[in-house]
Amino acid sequence: MSLLVEFLSSIRRFVLEQNGDELRKWLLVENNVPDIYFQLARELKTSFPANSNSVENLVDNCLPEENDVPESRGSPWPGFNSFMKEYLEYWRDADFSNLVKVHARLSDLLNSCANALANPTYGAMLLQTSMSLSEALSKLVMGLTRQPELLSQIQGGIGLLGEEGNEKKSIVELAADIIQKIFTSCLTDRSSTRWQPPKGKKVAVYLFANLTLKLLFACDKSRLAIQMFTNLSTSGPALALYPASQRVTFLYYLGRFNFDQGDYWRAHQAFEAAYLQCPPQFMKHRRQILTYWVPTNLLLGRFPSLALLQRPEAAGFLDIFLPICASIRRGNFVDFHTALFLSRDWLWAKGFYLTLLYRLKPLVWRSFTRRTFLLAWQGSVGGGNRASVPTLSFQDMVTTATYVQKQLEGYTPAPKRAATAGLPPKQPQRKLQVNPLFMKAVTNSSTAAAEADGGGDSLVPPPAGPRFLMPSEGLIFGNKRPDVKNIEAVIAGLVYAGLLNGFIARRQGAFAIEGAKRFNGDPVKAGWPVPYESVMERFKESWQDAVAAYESGESPDPPGEFEDVPGWVKGDMFSRRD
C-alpha cells in the first residue's frame, strides 16, 4: 500500500471515530514535521502531477461517505474531502523556501478547512485542526509583515481584490477574515444557547476570537476587531462560561481595543477583570495587562498606588510612572515633559507617548491652576466675607504661566537676583529645574520674544536665545507666551471637562469658584474636585445622554447599562434563558 493510501486510511479512521485531536496531530502544515511528510510530498509529486483531478479521485476513493452512520460515529463529507484534496496539494506543491507561495496555499487550505468546519453534523471534529492551521497562518502572516520585500510581492499578487473589486486588502485582513469565518461558524453553532455551558463548535468561540485579536494587534490593525465585538454582543455566549485562560486573554485584548479607541472607562473595566482573574504566578501576563492598565488609569485621573508599582510584575514601572504622577500632582510642566522624555523610548514603543503627552496635560493644568490659587489667594478656609466668591485671577495665572513658559524655553534664574530673591537660604544655588536636555536643543535665533513678555525679570534667557519649542512642548502652542485670552480658554476647557468647578467672571477677569459653602468654606476643595470623580461624572453624563437619545427615538441603538463594554458578554447565566 502506498504511503498516501496508508495516510488517508488513518485519516478515515479518525473521521469515523470523530477524533479531532488525532486529525490535528496528523494534518500538519509547518516545515518542522517528521520526514514522512516530505516522503508523502515526493510521492504526490511523482504520482499526482498538477493540473489533473487524480488527487481528487484518490481522496474520494479513500474517504467514501458512509451510509447509516450510528450516533457517536462520523463520516467523511464533501467539504471534508475538498479540504483533504487541498491538503494533499499543499504538500505536493510545498516549497518552504518560497514563503509567498506557502502563504497563498496555506490561506487556501485554511479557507477550505473553514468551509468543511461549517458542516453542522460533523464539522466540529475539525475544530482542533482549524485552530492549528489558523495559528500557522497567523504566525506566517506576522512574520511576513516584518519582511517588506516579501510583503510587496504578496500584495502585488492576485486574489487580493476586495469585494468591490478595487480595494486591496492587506494580508493581515485576509488572514483575519478567514479566521473570523471560523469564529462565526463557532458563534452560530446551535448546540448550546448563549447562557448554557458551551457545546459543539461553541466551545471554541473565544479561542478563535483571541487568535484573531492576537493577529490584529500584532499587525496594528486592532480597529478591524470592531465587527467581531459587535457580533459577540449580539449573539455571543457568556464569557464566564469559558476557561480562565480564554477569559483573561480575551479581556486583555478587549481592554487594549478600548484603549486604542480612547474609551478608558471601558478599557479599565476589561483590564481590571483580566488582571484580577490572572493568578500571580503568571507574572508575565499580569505585567502585560498592567502595562496598559496603569496608563488607562492615569488617563482616568487615578494614579497607581506605591503598593501596585512595587509588585513584582511592575518591575521598572515605578521609574516611569512615579515622575509622571509627581509632575501632575505638582502641576509642574517642566517636570512633566522631562518625565515623559526620559521614558520616551518605552512609552513610544508601547504607543503611549503622544496619548499621555496630550491627554494628561489638562491634569497638569488643573494642578497648576490649583497651585497658583493656593499661592495667590488671600482668604482663609471657612473665613472671610461670606458674600465674596473666591476667585483665581487670570492675571495671576498669566504671571505664573509666563514664568513656566520661560522655563520651558530654557530660561534660568538671574544669578544675582536669585540669591536675593527671597528663596529659602538653602536653595540660592540650587540646580535648575529645567532639564539640561532641553537646553541643548535647537534654539530660536531671535531673542526678541525674550524681551517682549513684560513679566518679571527673575529669569534670564539662555545664551543662545530661547529654545525653539515644538507646538506640544509649549504651554499654549510652541513659543506662544500665555496671555489672558489663552488662560481664559484653558480654564473654560477645564471647567467644561469638569476638572474645575466654577465659572468665568469676565468682568473681574477671573475664575470664580462655586459651592465653597458645601465644603465648609474651603474654595480649593470646591473649585478643584477629585479628578477621577469628575472624569467618571462626564462618562456617566454621556451615557445618560445616550439613554435619553434612545428613549426619545433619536438613536436606534440601546446604550445598555453604564458598565457595559461592547463585546464583553457578561450576562447572568443563572437567570437568563434566551
Binding site: 490572572c278 488609569n297 521598572g316 507617548y353 536636555l437 536643543a441 527673575s458
Partner: protein, 93 residues
C-alpha cells in the same frame, strides 16, 4: 487637543530633543526589555480561589484617586510665589 498618536509627528518632535542621560536610559531599557506578545497560558483553566478576584477587594489599594498636593513649600511653589509678588509690586510702582 489632538490625541491620536501621529507617529511621524511625534518622532520628529522627539528627535528635536538632544541625547543625554544615556546611562539611565540604557539601564531602564534593559530592565524593560520585553516583547509585546500576550503569550498563551500554559494551563487552560484555574480556580477563582487562586486569583485576586476572589480576595477581599477592600484590602487592595491599587489606585490613588485623591492625590492633590497642598504643600507650597517646595522650590517650584517658592519660585511662582516670588514671581507673583514681583509682578504685583511692579504694578504698584
Amino acid at each position: 487637543m489632538a490625541s491620536t498618536q501621529n507617529k511621524s509627528d511625534s518622532k520628529s518632535e522627539a528627535k528635536q530633543q538632544p541625547e543625554q542621560q544615556q546611562p539611565t536610559e540604557q539601564k531602564k531599557a534593559a530592565a524593560l526589555e520585553e516583547d509585546d506578545e500576550f503569550e498563551d497560558f500554559p494551563v487552560d483553566d484555574w480556580a477563582a480561589e487562586e486569583t485576586e478576584a476572589a480576595a477581599d477587594k477592600t484590602a487592595q489599594h491599587l489606585w490613588e484617586e485623591s492625590w492633590d498636593d497642598d504643600d507650597t513649600s517646595d522650590d517650584f511653589s517658592a519660585q511662582l510665589k516670588e514671581e507673583l509678588k514681583k509682578v504685583e509690586s511692579s504694578k504698584k510702582r
